[in-house]
């Protein structure tokens, strides 16, 4: 049974990654959205390096939150429309685990690229080397939480009127702790303070979200399918 659970997890993961690979433009759009939003801030605030260094972590994190929101509406929508989600719900394996596989695939496609490009964007904001590393590590720990928590909102708004704006209202307030400690880590590093506490808390959020949110997402998916 555990073997079949693991193979089902891998199958869902591979399928979602394959689908994302076949529709590369979707992935690239959110990726460039992130880069463009971050690049707009120096134009709005002015190119003063000290200001840019101060706002960089917050800007990158808020842009990551918005990008994650933008990508979330696609997490279940396609599978909901073509009936795949119903088949997943009927599968003998726990729906929570299958939803976790979908969320992981979603993060690999939309979250991980942001983590990888973030140091380059940090350079545009004149962040020092140490802060770049801290920001990247914080994003690596924090963006999966965004996908996990966002998945609950994505499942709740399946097939609902005005789903994308509604999703933002539901999910963004729940992102606040991740934003605070994610941006706080890099800011603390810029001002020479210890970042261990921030990163530990982000890790704790990740563990809590990974343990609880797939079950809430599964419950929400079942409600949407009724």
């Amino acid at each position: 049974m555990s073997g079949s659970l693991a193979s089902m997890f891998v199958a869902v993961l591979r399928r979602d990654l394959l689908l994302a690979l076949r529709r590369r433009s979707d992935v690239l759009t959110t990726f460039f959205f992130f880069i463009i939003v971050v690049s707009l801030f120096p134009l709005g605030v002015g190119p003063e390096p000290n200001t840019l260094r101060a706002i960089a972590p917050g800007v990158v994190w808020v842009a990551a939150l918005l990008t994650s929101m933008l990508a979330l509406s696609r997490l279940f929508a396609g599978d909901f429309a073509d009936g795949t989600l119903e088949q997943l719900a009927l599968a003998p394996q726990p729906l929570g685990i299958l939803v976790l596989a979908k969320t992981l695939a979603h993060w690999l496609v939309t979250g991980l690229p942001l983590v990888l490009i973030a140091p380059v964007l940090g350079l545009q904001f004149d962040l020092p080397g140490g802060a770049l590393w801290v920001m990247t590590t914080a994003l690596l720990l924090g963006t999966p939480v965004l996908s996990l928590v966002g998945a609950v909102g994505a499942a709740l708004t399946l097939g609902v009127r005005g789903a994308s704006a509604l999703l933002a209202i539901l999910v963004l307030p729940l992102y606040v702790p991740v934003l605070i400690f994610g941006a706080g880590a890099a800011s603390a590093s810029v001002s020479g303070m210890s970042v261990a506490g921030y990163l530990s808390l982000l890790g704790a959020f990740l563990l809590i979200a990974a343990a609880l949110s797939p079950w809430a997402t599964a419950a929400a998916v079942r409600i949407a399918l009724e």
């Binding site: 909102g153 709740l156 509604l166 209202i169 539901l170 702790p177 809430a216 419950a219 009724e226």
Partner: protein
């Protein structure tokens, strides 16, 4: 005993009971509010540091307490509804949400009015104000998700899941925001410490909090009666109600 209580889990039996309870709670709210305001405005001494302006505490603190309490009660009814599959629980949760949002808005508004003369600013990004603002967003999220779904059963259940996710998150959000910034004066009423305020002030505040509590119950009962009528409008017993027949 159990059966007699659970009888009221049905909208049909709860509707007249709620109708009987509303005048009771409204009267209690009015009396307590009159007593609390009298103590607050006339009996309580003028504050040594803040002068008369501190008296907004008699509205502000009860509203802030109720805003948090109502969210927990709402989440409780959502959990009961999801676990027991009782329609009335979801209706109760939906009836509580606007009152909770109202209390949150009142707490923010009076806090802002209080902040201007004492701190010299309408808004400070401190822990309690920020978490109260996020609480308002959570209420708005609950109400807008419910409003966006046409099928009442699905709307009830989806909003219930959201309320439960929110109630798990509220302590995390609160402590995150608290760590992020603290500018507020320390909590002046806590269960573990002896209160550092005059006894009459404390009494005034507690009586006002009770008044806000009674008002919230009465308002939620009124709203749940409307929701029952709206949802059950095809039922025979609704058609037999004197207030419906007369129309």
């Amino acid at each position: 005993m159990n059966q007699r209580i659970f009888r009221f889990a049905s909208p049909q039996t709860f509707y007249p009971l709620a109708g009987q309870m509303i005048p009771l709670f409204m009267t209690l709210a009015a009396v307590l509010c009159a007593v609390g305001l009298y103590i607050g405005l006339f009996v309580a001494p003028t504050d040594f540091q803040q002068g008369e302006v501190y008296r907004i505490i008699f509205i502000h603190v009860p509203a802030a307490w109720m805003s948090m309490f109502i969210y927990v009660v709402m989440a409780f009814w959502c959990a009961v509804g999801l676990a027991m599959n009782t329609r009335l629980s979801f209706m109760m949760a939906l009836a509580l949400a606007p009152t909770g949002a109202l209390m949150t808005a009142v707490a923010l508004w009076t806090g802002s009015l209080w902040g201007k003369p004492t701190w010299g600013t309408w808004w400070a990004w401190d822990a309690r104000m920020t978490s109260e603002l996020i609480l308002l967003f959570l209420y708005i999220g609950f109400l807008s998700l419910h409003a966006a779904i046409d099928d009442p059963r699905r709307a009830d259940r989806a909003a219930a899941v959201l309320a439960l996710v929110g109630v798990v998150n509220i302590p995390i959000i609160y402590f995150s925001v608290k760590w992020w910034n603290t500018l507020h004066q320390g909590a002046s009423v806590s269960i573990t410490r002896a209160p550092s305020m005059a006894r009459t002030m404390l009494w005034g505040m507690l009586i006002m909090a009770l008044a806000a509590w009674m008002y919230s119950i009465a308002a939620a009962l009124m709203r749940v009666r409307s929701i029952i009528l709206e949802r059950e409008n095809a039922a025979e017993w609704v058609a037999q109600l004197p207030e419906v027949k007369g129309q």
